[in-house]
Symmetry: C2
Subunit: 602 residues, 2 copies
Amino acid sequence: MDKLVIKDRLCKLRTEMKAAGIDCYLIPTSDFHDSEYVSSFFMVRNYFSGFSGSAGTLVVTGEDAALFTDGRYFIQAEQELMGTGIRLMKMGEPDVPTLKQYLEQQLGQEECLGFDGRVVRADDAAQYEEIVQKKQGHMCWERDLAEKIWLDRPALVHHPVFRLADCYSGEGADSKIARLRERMKSEDADVHILTSLDDIAWLLNIRGNDVESCPVVLAFCIITMEQVLLFADVREQSPWNRENRRYLQEMGVTLLFYEDFYGQIAGYHGKRILLCRARISCRLGKELPEDAQIIDRPNPTSLMKAVKNRTEMENLRIAHLKDGIAVTRFMYWLKQNVGKISMTEISAAEYLEKLRRKAEDFIEPSFETICAYGANGAIIHYSASEESCEEIKPEGLLMVDSGGHYLQGTTDVTRTFVTGPLSDEMKKHFTLVLRAMLNLRATSFLYGCRGVNLDIRAREVLWEQGFDYKHGTGHGVGYLLNVHEGPNSFRWKLMPDYEDNAVLEEGMVTTDEPGIYIEGSHGIRIENELLCRKGIKNDYGQFMYFEDLTCVPIDLDGVDASLLGETDRKRLNAYHQEVFERLAPYFQGDELIWLRHATREI
Amino acid sequence: MDKLVIKDRLCKLRTEMKAAGIDCYLIPTSDFHDSEYVSSFFMVRNYFSGFSGSAGTLVVTGEDAALFTDGRYFIQAEQELMGTGIRLMKMGEPDVPTLKQYLEQQLGQEECLGFDGRVVRADDAAQYEEIVQKKQGHMCWERDLAEKIWLDRPALVHHPVFRLADCYSGEGADSKIARLRERMKSEDADVHILTSLDDIAWLLNIRGNDVESCPVVLAFCIITMEQVLLFADVREQSPWNRENRRYLQEMGVTLLFYEDFYGQIAGYHGKRILLCRARISCRLGKELPEDAQIIDRPNPTSLMKAVKNRTEMENLRIAHLKDGIAVTRFMYWLKQNVGKISMTEISAAEYLEKLRRKAEDFIEPSFETICAYGANGAIIHYSASEESCEEIKPEGLLMVDSGGHYLQGTTDVTRTFVTGPLSDEMKKHFTLVLRAMLNLRATSFLYGCRGVNLDIRAREVLWEQGFDYKHGTGHGVGYLLNVHEGPNSFRWKLMPDYEDNAVLEEGMVTTDEPGIYIEGSHGIRIENELLCRKGIKNDYGQFMYFEDLTCVPIDLDGVDASLLGETDRKRLNAYHQEVFERLAPYFQGDELIWLRHATREI
């Protein structure tokens, strides 16, 4: 992106701000549904800053512009913001103000803070409002200033919808709706408003393609004891074919226009409305009738969805086997061909996708593949572009973080592959990351533990040596839904706003992905997905353990065996034995011989 | 305690309840200052239930009586409540309601919940009030029903006060008050109300003896920008001698009558009052002027006090050396004499106290010594009585958890001693507990970690084998103040109300005390105190580590070396080498020979 283009766009934005009487304009990364990944219509922050990461907030004043993002994106943001005049605010670093502290500093007395209230969360907006009130200023949430500036903005599109059969979901939508109504009853709620796309898709067993890599359907949903209202695209050329419409009808779901959602909300006078303030938009919050009683709780579907049922668990094992076959074939191809044929980060990623597409019931990649060679591996969420794309050479490390959506579930796996000679330091780092991953996955713990308790099991291995990684150790994973899903995660910092620190329940799926990133040199991340299971129960309580879902060899060429303890070695060998046993039936000839070697005991 | 006596007291209480129109009466364990340990005047729950543990809440209705206590006291409470008709509610166990859930069940429509509002925390009372309102009932917090029943109740006494010199405190009270006022300014507060006794003692560098084992002064304190008001005993025969009064005067502290505190509070109309709702009493909350603005924050002194300064750190090392000498001499005496001379749990504890008293600047034990032989060791907070007191035999295990107050600080140490042959199981348990203790203490971590992140470092060793202990792994320790002190601790469950999950700062002292308790057989706990220190700082952040304060050998007769990993062995040997080097100059002859053997490399 040309830096002058960005400067020009900011200039136009400031003109619009002036015209609207806005002194400080805030652009988060979200859609009307608090989605993490958004469709191109919503990429306003990217448009005005040039920063293409998946998370960040741009704040523009008359004089200043600042972009707040987290540790995953520091290096990338530095590169992309260079020359734009936009300052990078590295969230969580010492001496860097939080977004709220920054707003307090920037906003003058009686000034106006503006943003598009449809893409800012109600609880964030409430905090901004406090700041504004302290300054006797005001807040303008009704306007989207991009409208007049971004003339070639992509349209808001609705894609075809399909129904997820019970053999995949393991539970009919009628049963899910009934369970949700039970929860509503126990909260004494008349109405439940659900705006998060993955919750809606899960509840109704429907899937779509309205956000890249997230098979969700752009919709709002309202559940009462009598009705389920779904606000979606119901025009002539609608993505809802007759069969789907009949399915919804049978389920007692009424299909309404997407745009009519706010009007419906305004009518719930005097009702007890269950919703999650942390997930609804500022605009929705403002449209609620004043006399409604709000019961502010995490969406009940969030926990229900995270706890995979028996069918989903069994399907996930199948999905990971298919995915493991594809990634292992990729590993074989890579190790055989690197240095012999030409390959780049992009062509390698394409080859991997081609292998995945061969699997039955594969739908699409579950996120944009990170295929990062050498120094690019240190950019935690690196995205190769035609310009920056590196040739993969027969030396050093290639990190590949990728995943797929299958009818049997969603996968997310990272392997760092050795493409040729490594320095001792690289081997040391590889071995440390491996030990960290193995250590967390081997944890036996009492029921009641949360990610915040367990995170150190991975990190302790690195901390002992003075290393760390500036991202969570793991995140929940949806079932043919968002690859990042709450309310479970592995994270050590307490973030009360994040809703990702739930007690780990049997059936929850969480990734285990520690890393070491050396700027300008290399990056290593190794990621398995872990399924939480019940272990023994005794007087002390219910013990829990993790089952590996991911089924891909770990590149032994990166391991310095002298740095493994006896326990590490046993864990690694046991994992590789299991990988071999599961994969072997699908490999033959040279590939099978290679697989046996790749999963050998060390 | 005769069970009939308890039944009779409950009967009288029910008569009083009836007369006062109270349907459900709640008796917590506290004083007017939210203290953990209380002077005998406040032992109302003990009086009515016979349960003598340090934590528990009794709830009495017309028909029912229930005592809520935590895992430390399950076995003891079961024994002490037997035959009283009082049901034991094991807090945190599955299917046991929380106190609030229980109140919801017990309270009928329009019924009255009563308690002494001076000994119930304001935030708890607010939650009770919600429950009462749901039932259209009311709350009576103005009466202490024990008054008319407990006729021989001990008086509320004020003991002599002394000033802690700057060479012990490391910071003058004037400087502490100035720091506190800075915090008040940053919170825009006019008035700060401080009712917790250890905070007051720390702030003014005064100590007393008004709660057993806690060298605090019974007082309330109010700080404004101009004044410091201390409400304490100022009668003729006051504990404040002329010198102390002059000290306070010089510090600008005005001494007022203890009883006049509430009257003063009521006068702060329209003021911005900084206080900690979780620490003030219901009565204080009710007496605040309605037009005052409350700034509800943890007491700033709580964090300031927990972060020991350079002088305090250096003094603590001295206190622990003196304490280590006494406990190690006790260990020598025990191992030499068990089976040869008669010794009981009580006589052994007395001997240990005698050894501690020999140290210069020793003041008193920092809590009642737990000296528990054999099966008594499984009672986590066992207290030997003349009746239950066990003879110590030359077999099995003796657990001794004890500590002292010195001018140089407060100690808390647990060692489990082997007095003769052990079963393999006992050795296994001993070795597991030792490994757990060593593992946590060896943790290297990034600044920002809280106890909730680190707790698993101890517990993982036991969880792996299906064991656990039903208490926190560790608590903060005061400086010549409460042996249990916030806001730091090691605990895995998130307890938002506890205020003991602060970020670990350099200078904080926390105990590391895992255990295994086998009911009817034995109990093992090993406890070191850890001082949090800054380690290396690099691009990842500030790394932290723990320094051992405790300086007492760990009984190698309990260790099964075959169950130690190489890392465990190194840690143990390094600790013992340090213990030997620090203690050796104070030991001679046979004792020194024994010490060398007791700290030998294994």
